[in-house]
Symmetry: C2
Subunit: 334 residues, 2 copies
DNA sequence: CTGTTAGCGCATTCAT
DNA sequence: ATGAATGCGCTAACAG
């Protein structure tokens, strides 16, 4: 059965304070007693109760990582980066997904906020001010890829707008004029920014946006697949398609291949994120490289820094650059 | 600042007991006071401290999910299945990765075991008996894909041996005789079982195993890539390669394509898992379908069942069937 | 060096 | 229906 500090103390014939001392190595303890305590701990299989400890110390040694979803390569990469760092820094990472629903996110925040010393929130569909009333003031938070209404929070994001503009400009420079877009979930800021980049690029080249070429989506492969099929049904097909993330581009590519539409000869295809898979597709996918793993690392590093600091730190907001990666899905022979 | 139950009581001009009552809806409370309490909670942004609650109630409402890694499609799928169920059942899932190291796993177990009401452990490199001394007796545990030394624990796994045998038999039936294998991490039971399946299939067809065709690996794409390159350097190349998981097959495919080795014409390729990506590769990947998402669901369901049960349940051990999926990487024209 | 004691925030008796 | 008091397991301050 689960034993407690009293059991250990009794067995080692010392006071509970002494047990606590050897446990936390706070002040010197007589080697003899230390040994007895260690032996008792061993024999009982005693493990301190973090609930009791955190009640007292007001810290938990854990960090919450709240993501819209944990599925897919994008998030895998992000988690990998983040996990390494938190492990090194002796923090325990609690990962949860909010399924892109604000309500679920709020619930998750409520669920964890008292169990952790800090929170990492990636919520492209929410904004920092909107979440503020759910988050206990004083709890360190780092937002990733979340809309910042003001300068009060730490926010790390990357250049969604610029990346999309670059990619679509690349298509335009290849001579494409009928360029479709398959979008992400409607309220997601990253989807919105990428869409803006798309529109901006078109404008910059004097191309009028065509509404029938702007297909709604939700970041999933299925949406990419369905969106691409819808585009193929059009009487006046586009010559290029920009999927707002790689995941959807994967689905689109499948739709094209099923219908015998060659990429890039019949239709060019671009994505966003540069997930590992992008390079494995045939043809490989032209996309916008986002330093996902690095962002994962950076954001926990910052979170841990904020958590360890006694004083509240000056909020920092940064937007990381992204890079266009040209591959076979837009230029044949690559 | 973080407020506590006392603050709420003071503000609502009631006792803390009353606050606790409206919080947990235990016994009837005068509507008037209830209102005052609710108002105070609202105004203070009060959130109960789960640490204090669990100290008293001896339950946490959380489940631990300990996986070897959380990267890649296999684990994404698993988590997706699991997440849905635990959310529905009002349990909070704490996910952590042990990096395939027993020491890390033990550390993670220690870290979480007192924070949760039950644990889901996927540890292909460990065995149930070996972990027993780290896990507090009485804590409900469900193992997935972990070696069972005895009948004392709940273990859910799938037919690694049979799946591998089927796949390699398929290659043999296509006429292949020089069949290489790229293996998983050495101590992982799934890798070991799949290797056994490979050997067994060869034997069944009277083919002698060739040691130079048995390449070590570690389940990562990089290992698949390197393994495939090593095979290509052989003077006497294999005509088929079985990668012990799809992830490595992806890496192998890349190596082949880089060197202009056609799949399946020059070399056939098989994987294991049937991750979503397998179907998107060109050629699509012949593999062994594992009902990953379903296993994720089943295992938490069982865990929750054990957790809710007052009495200790009879341990159940089950091995789920897997299915050979033949695609383009072994048979051209698919 | 070591033991005793007072809470941490909360649910739960036991009185009222 | 409600409040006062008790204790969950632990650490820290205090007193030896």
């Amino acid at each position: 059965m689960k034993s407690n500090i009293k059991d250990v103390a009794r067995r080692a014939k010392v006071s509970i304070a002494t047990v606590s001392r050897v446990l936390n190595d706070t002040c010197p303890v007589h080697p003899d007693k230390r040994m007895r305590v260690e032996k008792a701990i061993q024999e009982l299989g005693y493990i301190p109760n973090p609930a009791a400890r955190s009640l007292l110390k007001r810290e938990t040694g854990a960090l919450a990582i709240l993501l819209p979803v944990i599925t897919g390569e994008f998030f895998s990469e992000f988690l990998t980066g983040l996990d390494t760092v938190s492990r090194e820094e002796k923090y325990f990472a609690i990962v949860s997904a909010s399924h892109r629903e604000e309500e679920q996110l709020r619930l998750a925040i409520r669920n964890v906020c008292r169990r952790v010393d800090g929170m990492l929130v990636m919520a492209p569909e929410s904004s920092t001010a909107g979440l503020r009333n759910v988050i206990p003031s004083g709890l360190p938070v780092v937002y990733v890829n979340t809309t910042a209404d003001d300068q009060l929070d730490d926010v790390i994001s990357f250049d969604n707008f610029g990346g999309a503009r670059k990619l679509v400009s690349h298509l335009l420079e290849l001579g494409h004029r009928r360029i479709a877009i398959i979008n992400g979930t409607p309220k997601a800021s990253d989807a919105i920014d990428r869409f803006r980049g798309y529109r901006q690029a078109l404008e910059g080249h004097g191309v009028k946006p065509v509404e029938s070429l702007e297909i709604p989506g939700d970041f999933t492969q299925e949406a990419g697949y369905e969106g691409a099929r819808a585009l193929l049904r059009l009487s006046d097909r586009p010559t290029a398609v920009f999927c707002v993330n790689d995941n959807m581009a994967v689905g689109a590519l499948r739709a094209f291949q099923e219908r015998g539409v060659r990429v890039p000869e019949d239709i060019a295809l671009g994505g966003f994120d540069d997930i590992p898979m992008a390079n494995y597709l045939t043809p490989s996918l032209t996309t916008v490289r986002v330093p996902i793993k690095k962002i994962g690392q950076m954001s926990v590093e910052r979170l841990i820094q904020k958590t360890r600091a006694k004083e509240a730190l000056q909020p920092e907001q940064q937007v990381l650059p992204v890079e266009l990666v040209i591959r076979g899905s837009t230029v044949a022979g690559r």
